[in-house]
Subunit: 612 residues, 2 copies
Amino acid sequence: MRRSIATVSLSGSLADKLTAIGGAGFDGVEIFENDLLASDLSPEDVRDRAADLGLAVELYQPFRDFEAVPPDLLAGSLRRAEHKFAVMERLGAKLMLVCSNVSPAAIDDDALAAEQLRLLAERAAEHGIRIAYEALAWGRHVGDYAHAWRIVRMAGHPALGLCLDSFHIAARDVDPYAIRAIPGDKIFFLQLADAPSLPMDVLYWSRHYRCFPGQGDMDVAGLVADVLRTGYDGPLSLEVFNDIFRQAASMRTAQDAMRSLIALEEQVGLRMGGPVAGLTSPPRPVVPTGFAFAEIAAPSAAPLGNLLEALGFVRTGVHAGKPVELWEQGAARVLVNSGSAESPDGPALGAIGLESPDPAASVKRAEALLSPVLPRMRGPHDAPLDAVAAPDGTEVFFCRTARPDHPSWTGDFAADRRGPAAAPGEITHIDHVALTQPWHHFDEASLFYRSVLGLRPHESLELPDPYGLLRSRAVSTEDGGVRVALNVAHVGAHDGSHDTAWQHIALASGDIVATARRFRAAGAPALAIPANYYDDLEARHDLGADRHRLLRELGLLYDRDEHGEFLHFYTETTGRVFFEIVQRIGGYRGYGAVNAPVRLAAQHARPRLRAG
Amino acid sequence: MRRSIATVSLSGSLADKLTAIGGAGFDGVEIFENDLLASDLSPEDVRDRAADLGLAVELYQPFRDFEAVPPDLLAGSLRRAEHKFAVMERLGAKLMLVCSNVSPAAIDDDALAAEQLRLLAERAAEHGIRIAYEALAWGRHVGDYAHAWRIVRMAGHPALGLCLDSFHIAARDVDPYAIRAIPGDKIFFLQLADAPSLPMDVLYWSRHYRCFPGQGDMDVAGLVADVLRTGYDGPLSLEVFNDIFRQAASMRTAQDAMRSLIALEEQVGLRMGGPVAGLTSPPRPVVPTGFAFAEIAAPSAAPLGNLLEALGFVRTGVHAGKPVELWEQGAARVLVNSGSAESPDGPALGAIGLESPDPAASVKRAEALLSPVLPRMRGPHDAPLDAVAAPDGTEVFFCRTARPDHPSWTGDFAADRRGPAAAPGEITHIDHVALTQPWHHFDEASLFYRSVLGLRPHESLELPDPYGLLRSRAVSTEDGGVRVALNVAHVGAHDGSHDTAWQHIALASGDIVATARRFRAAGAPALAIPANYYDDLEARHDLGADRHRLLRELGLLYDRDEHGEFLHFYTETTGRVFFEIVQRIGGYRGYGAVNAPVRLAAQHARPRLRAG
């Protein structure tokens, strides 16, 4: 299938958009009329530039408010159409999108609509142009594809067909099943967009919140599968109106769009189209099975070492060639890298390691989905360690730790032992990591974790921070072996915004009470939880006086869902990083989101430690 | 009336919020439960701190999902209530807000709701506490105040009354008329919020887009008038959930909230409440009648002078004591101030002068509405010139130019004449100014122009800029003598955002064709409009070949509405500033918004002149 995108989906001038679209490897482009009007490129310049970039001009759009008008308006509309046909000829565009009429002048009369569209198609055909008629979800009389199809069939002109748009179909919850009855050659064009579920008017939702397939909550793949069954062989074309993409860098958005299409084609089971350089069918997702490590870049290793010791970690190794320490407890491993220059705000989470059944295949998939593969900076004797960059810059490594079939990255560390000689700690593994995303790259991040790593997105939550609402969405493997919480400011930041770009590593403890006692006994700084929280907890839950007393004494937070209970506490923040210690009791599935506002307020109240 | 505000309306810690609320001169505060839970102040600390700040704790809120539950849930809810009563006693709060039940467990049974609320009121009364029952617009069974009132009346307990919330009433478009039938002493509390008209689900709208009265589109004053007729004598209390206020500086938001209440009280015809220091009833609005001048701060005066000359302006004066030039044409006056240090990006619009029938009263009103009055920096012989700062920092001066009853500011300028000796120009006056607002102060600006200057807000528009959507809202006097267009980025900016903080001065010409020819003949730089724009204009409007040719030749843009036609063109931008030349033909009322995307694209395409 050819891959196409509408220019309105990207930011910048029309020339910038074409360059970005060509650079991302698309085959074609929809020219959005306003982009042309505002451009100082002539239609001929656009045609030539697109051709140079290997882009077909697939569609000129939109032509509005044409059909089913009183006869006195028709002449003016046809005059308008002739002007547009002339522009299209200069542009080399052979297909014009006509949206269903939204004007109050439109008449509810299918026969009239068909008659006038037939007339338009006749005129178009004289210019070698075809008309793709699309039902806007908010069309005045024609609001779904089945209705548009009745009109197109009634008109019965070879130059008149349908444009289907996944957003309009899903937004009105129209059953896509009837698409199968439409002959594929009467579907002239297919536009694709996704959107998060948001409770608002469909027009407002469409204009501001569309996103690329896989970033929202709609079943775009299901619709595409229905359309392909008809024999449709036109392009898959993305058409997204998104407030944030309008602001973002066009090259990056175009690449994200291409990632979305590749993942969509895979979902639909499409073989890859023609010989597009560098694009091959991605290997199947290699779902990670757990965390191998989390790596913190810190100006100096000692303060973090003290914190880890207080949690029961032992320093088990020092890297042979770099100032990196390995700290272990159970299967939880934390690397402290004091050789990185990239922590202006003090310690920051720079990398995570994921256990992969096949690290090389993991990297190949990431590469096929356009993730930047990181150059390997390792010594001649280091184990192979493959990594890609997540959208927020976090390095994601694919590991096989201590498996006989693969060299283990831990072999690069010279054995060493520093830490408590006392009883081993209760921490068993990394439960999850939480990463604050740049607010204008959240959709991209969500698609990355879903398509590249095969994680499943959970519900979006809103968390009130004292200085603004946060949006939070977790992605995880089915069994919870890998869980990542993605957080983002709900609206954009401004100069005076309080920085909450925190990152945290949540460690699972088999006995959080013991871990909390150990941590306190070491004199380490836990985040102080206000007494008011515990007063409210007693109002909400009757856990018995002893348990309430214990939670209060140790500063533990509490949550429950229908599957089980959740206990957790936090260390204070150093730089951008803090640790959370969690204990899941029963099958609790959440992340303690109900307690996040209390945590955030406590964090803002504390001066941040710049230790490490 | 007492003035109150809910802590949830502001950003920061509970301690910060109280300080801001006290500082803005409120009499009382609603304590939002989550703010208390997340605070390390004990309830007693909060009580003492509020008292120190002169704030009564008017309400503790919200208590959720209580009434009309099956008997087995009631005991747990009462237990929860007893815990909250204990907190309220420590807090010194005597009134608890109970929201109508939204839980699926709630039963649609008014008698049961009344019986359980009566029980709650009995328990509350034992602690000296009263219950204010509020219908949430999205309550499961109780969604409007009339229904809540039936239940309260049925319960018939002296400690049980109503809380009315203007948002819930206006959002569901419930007729407020029936409020007059409620005895004033059964209305225990009145919460106020406004909101812009947005087509979305009421819960989502309420949680994200509320704003202070006068900033949105609801008739809050009408509702307050209805409530006051009942004899209600509790506080007027603001309760606003707003994504942007959550991020903003709390002191500034609190002051904006107070400005909103003062303006609301004036609308309702309330005399001012108790002797709050510094707060007196504002003098009636003194509506400005026109623009006296626009002042541009520029590193050097010469390049701007050349531009003004090309437009037909003449330099008529030089300030006696400062490096400020006065340029005039008809009643259009532009000051070029090369003595200000505040133009790091080159020329910027620093001040506007408005013709006021009574400058001193204008300033008194602005002061009463909490606008910063600017210190007078003038020489001993200068005419009095009064000014306040608008929310975006623009200085707004109140003038009486060349009137016998008042010294004219123009008297401070020594007569001078530099400029074309040729025919006088066609420009008659300043038509409007357009100011880009910081995106997180748009609501504040809208209230400032409305309440302080008495301008009327017009419809909000969305303008697509190549690098993001802009929101634009004009405010004007009834006769259009003063028009200000406020523009703002639709979503927040980010580090990579393209700066579009442009400001412009629109000059009315009686013959724009002559002005355009004069400008071109002087070799001055007009903003180039793409040929594609004119191709489209011919498709949209049939103006005759000659007129289309003239528009294209002179780079004029065109619009029409049902009242008339609009012709305009732009100069290139220097620093942050450009000029627009406009001609209104017939009674055209708009601002040529349909052409703004073409203008914005052309501006981004041009390297900005740093001249001046």
